[in-house]
Symmetry: C2
Subunit: 610 residues, 2 copies
Amino acid sequence: MSKDIRRLWLPFLSADVPAKCDTPAKVAEYELKLGCEALGLKMPALRVDAALGEGYEIEGDAIVGGERGLLYGVYAFLMARAAGEEPPTGAQRPFYGLRMLDGWDNADGTIERGYSGRSLWFEGGKLEWDGARIRQLGRLLASVGLNVLCVNNVNVGDTEARLLEDALPDLAKLADAFRPFGVRLMTSIEFARPLAHGVGTADPLDAGVQRWWRERADAVWAAIPDFAGFLVKADSEHRPGPFAYGRSHAEGANMLARAVAPHGGVLVWRAFVYNCKQDWRDTATDRPMAAYQTYAPLDGQFDDNVILQVKNGPFDFQVREPVSPTFYAMPRTRLAVEWQLAQEYTGQQVDIYAMNPMWREMADDLPPEKVYAVAAVTNLGRDDNYTGHPFAAANLYGFGRYAWAPKVSPETVIRRWARLTYHLPAEREDALVRLLMDSRGVYEQYAAQLGIDWMVNPHDHYGPNPGGYEFDVWGTYLRPTRDAVGIDRTSKGTGLTLQFPPEMRERYETPEACPDNLKLFFHRLRYDYVMADGHTLIQRLYDDHFEGCARAEAMADTIAGLGLPEPDRSEAMERIERQIQNAREWRDVVNTFFHRLSGVDDAHGRKIYD
Amino acid sequence: MSKDIRRLWLPFLSADVPAKCDTPAKVAEYELKLGCEALGLKMPALRVDAALGEGYEIEGDAIVGGERGLLYGVYAFLMARAAGEEPPTGAQRPFYGLRMLDGWDNADGTIERGYSGRSLWFEGGKLEWDGARIRQLGRLLASVGLNVLCVNNVNVGDTEARLLEDALPDLAKLADAFRPFGVRLMTSIEFARPLAHGVGTADPLDAGVQRWWRERADAVWAAIPDFAGFLVKADSEHRPGPFAYGRSHAEGANMLARAVAPHGGVLVWRAFVYNCKQDWRDTATDRPMAAYQTYAPLDGQFDDNVILQVKNGPFDFQVREPVSPTFYAMPRTRLAVEWQLAQEYTGQQVDIYAMNPMWREMADDLPPEKVYAVAAVTNLGRDDNYTGHPFAAANLYGFGRYAWAPKVSPETVIRRWARLTYHLPAEREDALVRLLMDSRGVYEQYAAQLGIDWMVNPHDHYGPNPGGYEFDVWGTYLRPTRDAVGIDRTSKGTGLTLQFPPEMRERYETPEACPDNLKLFFHRLRYDYVMADGHTLIQRLYDDHFEGCARAEAMADTIAGLGLPEPDRSEAMERIERQIQNAREWRDVVNTFFHRLSGVDDAHGRKIYD
């Protein structure tokens, strides 16, 4: 057993899955035996019914399921029992067929926006892993029903591109390692890769390019018959793409989709295109409108095995965004929603930020059936606890639960995670659940209140820098002056509200109708604007920062009182101290920033620095 | 002859110095012959008079000098003749005995703040060089009388520390390569290095530490008998130093000085200590006061072979600073002034910035005899033209001239450089000289007018970011509000003015007496403050930016009209286009920044963006 494996939410599975368990059926059997012994349970029988696929049913003393379904059923049974609850009754099936994790891992072992150590499967320019840790990871993913892992960063370097070329045997071995856990692999590819092989163009309408990709796909599926497909970031943040050849993104995606279609593969195309060299003087271009502008006109033009992967909000994984209007605009396209478990803008696995409430909000705003699949950038790394902050594991667990059932209650998920992980006495479990359920609201209050995103430090995206993006190229401006702040994105401004369906447009179009938590996302407001609660905007900016910081400070006492086991306790205490420092910095910097601009003092005389 | 050597200001020396010229005498002879042939001159006789040392005299048809003096005399003779002028008459001696260049080169071949390519003497973790280029470089340095080169960055890594250990044989070979040009080597050392060798402490009062450094110095001078000495950055920007052991910088420096003294070596100690983790909320700490606070009390405590190397201004190589008050405060200490040819804050060898006028200003404010030696961070790299921008070579040339005679007229130096390099017709030479003489003023007007430094982008230090340092740890705040900007550094503020001698203090103490170009360095002023010329501060901020940018734009026409040879013409034209982009960005960003804060429109209705 690899020494650094800790059990996360499966502490009752206290031995590694042996390498000899090389099919889902064998894993299911092994885990059931191990779990039942640890929990003192009578072992249910396992019965395969291939027709059930990923589904399962737990009937009295038997678990019935398809090959993967059986595995999911075993975990569901054990986790319910471990939590002291009844297993689910009736036929269980995942809501989404594709439940994807995107690794932003690089071949050199680093992870872009990784906050929990180095890559679990790359080192020194090649795929390299600890078999026991990968099996533990496979177990974690299978236990919450995640079934696709994209192994490399969407920003693909030359070394990563070779995963489908001379490094293909290694990739096949990694696929072997994950297969027993029902996890299929995917890789990010580089759209212009044929150029590196003498093809002379990467034009998707060129027959030579088409042939190159077909041959590549043939080779990949010959080596890995259950390979999931390709993920592409094209014409985005300096990546190559079809625009260079005057082709649309439908033409680019379909060419690749046709290469993988004969093998049953999917082509996941990221809908993340915007002008990343914007002139800050240009007030007509509005970055959150870009995805809709690029893709909505292409609805109906994508092949069936293309999945257009749209970020949840129109900007970029910010704390608070409305649902991306692109989701309402492409009824004839298979859309995946992309989330980010890696806490790039949401506290970097130092600050606590439980995501299930956020995912549920989207499911409330957008019927889950509008979305064909779900994907999330992982928060995984080589840290002993896999996710940096021990509580960040709740997001990996919770993402699987959400992908399986998007309308699942966030509190149910978080409570289940907490119980499986820590088995605390009821009162302390309640305190942990409350802390996690409130955690996004706390972070939002000091780092992004009223929908005012992008006040973070450029580059590393942690900590406050309220003017940091004002004169940069990223399209993320707030244009604060001595009188007002924010961008008017209504029909009288840039027009983002016009991209939404009528009832949402109406909700966002006026500051009065717009909910407080998106007011500064959609509107430019004067500091003396009077909010619904009678406070001025400037006073509300101060109040939220003082209050958000005080709430972060209070979290330290809660954590100290939880009686967590070591090393979780030490890790959580060390990180909450850093979170408090961060919250104080947010409070003081943002308050000072607006005080310098507005000249308005805090109504309650609290300290605002000069 | 290495293909990438271009002749810079010595085009008449159109062949490499052969490797067999291994003494200054042989180089002098070779160069004289080569130059006289090219220029059609009768060859003067060479006569050694060892007593003259670095001095020389050109008498009729003979050049007399010490070993190095002869070399300097030969170049002076040839350069005067090449420029069509008479050689200097009478005995010539350098004003400063130590005329040092500090390379910030790293063993991996990168250069910290380097803007002209990779290192000329490091690659792949070790000393490695092209012999012909090093001899060309030696020729360039000798031609302007520079006599010490520190080969590695003051931020010393483990690999660089080995220069004095297992890599010493390589260092000795490099010393051999430079010796014929009268250039002695120095290295930056790491104060805590004994720790890496099991000494257990780096306390300067510890006998084991003292012994370790003595033995190290013995080994170095055994290998390189004319080695110049050590350069140390201690207790500065996270470098180790004596403070860790409760010792003063005099105790730290003297310990090392005593190790090198038996060999005639010097110990150069950088006086660059400040709190680089300042809390922005702290308004009492004022970074430009730090060097004086740390070192002035130590005056008289340093050994004779310690040279305290003080940056020219109290901040850090900014466009406009007063002379560092430390120079007036340490009459019993040998002080070197440190400049930076590498244009970190002054345009990065894209924007044109000729430095001789700046050096002369200091010589006017501070008697040259207050300073014992001069040093400059080099602007050299592996680019074909050595300095990135072809005009940046004027700073290397000019620094040598200034180090030899600090009161030399900047225009004389710049004209001589221009004539030797390009031999333009009179009118065009005048245009180039005017352009260079004005260049700092242009840059200052758009990037740092009125002494308002630090509006640059943090980290890379190029381009505008007026609020970029406000909430950071570097002690470089301007605290702009809707009403005012700047730090009050007078006796009523942080008290920096009190560190100056009375007549300077008086000049800086009131906004009225303070020269415009330092007004915002010493004073916090309201936007409606009325300047001596009747304009308000805010209008002056706008005017300077519009005017500075227009002057940069006009420079492009001047350069286009110079008729420069290729590739200088293309290089200069490509860079002036980038300079103009930079100047426009400075104009618009800074104007918008202050317009957003002040709400005041430009009196002339020029475009200020929202």
